[in-house]
Subunit: 111 residues, 2 copies
C-alpha cells in the first residue's frame, strides 16, 4: 500500500518519525552540516558543494523547512538559509528523550 497508518501511533511517535524521515537522506545531512560549518546564513552555493541539480537541492531545502529546522530569508535575488537554533534544540531533545530511556540501569541491557 505504501501508506503509513499514523492513527495507530502517538503524536510523539509520529513526530519523531517525521523528523527522522527528513534526516534520512545524505544530501539533507550534508546540507545541515554545511550550514553548521559555515555558522552563518548561506545562500545557494549548495548546488556547487553537493553534486546535485538545483531543482533537487531546492526540494531538499523545502523538506528541511517543512520541519522548521532551517529558515530562509530573502536577500535581494538570492536566499539566505540557516539553521533555526530553537528548533534545532527541540529536535535534539526529542531524539535525546528517546535515547535516554535505555538502558534504565547503565551497562545493563538484557541480552
Amino acid at each position: 500500500m505504501g501508506v503509513t497508518k499514523s492513527d495507530l501511533f502517538s503524536e510523539r511517535q509520529n513526530e519523531l518519525a517525521t523528523i527522522a524521515r527528513v534526516f534520512a537522506h545524505p544530501a539533507r545531512i550534508a546540507i545541515l552540516e554545511h550550514l553548521i560549518k559555515a555558522n552563518t546564513c548561506i545562500n545557494g552555493d549548495l548546488v556547487q558543494e553537493l553534486g546535485l541539480a538545483q531543482a533537487t537541492i531546492s526540494q531538499h531545502l523545502r523538506e528541511l523547512k517543512a520541519i522548521g529546522v532551517i529558515k530562509g530569508s530573502i536577500e535581494g535575488v538570492s536566499v539566505n538559509y540557516c539553521i533555526d537554533p530553537i528548533r534545532w534544540l527541540e529536535i535534539r531533545q526529542l531524539f535525546e528523550s528517546l535515547f535516554a530511556g535505555f538502558p534504565k540501569i547503565p551497562d545493563q541491557g538484557c541480552c
Copy 2:
C-alpha cells in the same frame, strides 16, 4: 529516479541517513519504545500491542535488525527481541555528534 546518489556523500553522512531512515516510521519507534518500557527481552506480542499484521511487524523488526539496534534470540518456538545496548549507544552518539555541532556559541544562531 528514486535512487539516492550515495557516492556523492561521506560514509558518515550515508550511515546517519541509513539509521535515520529506520527511525523514520512510527511503528519502528513504537517497537523500540515498547522494548525500552519492557526493559527485558520481549517476544512477539508486538502484534497485539501495535495494530499491524504479523507480516508487517516482522518486516519492521528486520529493518531494525539490519542496523543492529535490536537483536533477536530464538527461545524455543518464539523469538526474544531486545535492544543492543552497545549499538544503541553508538547510534545515540552518532546523532549527538551531529546535534552538538550547532550552535558553536550557545544561544547565538545567525537568524
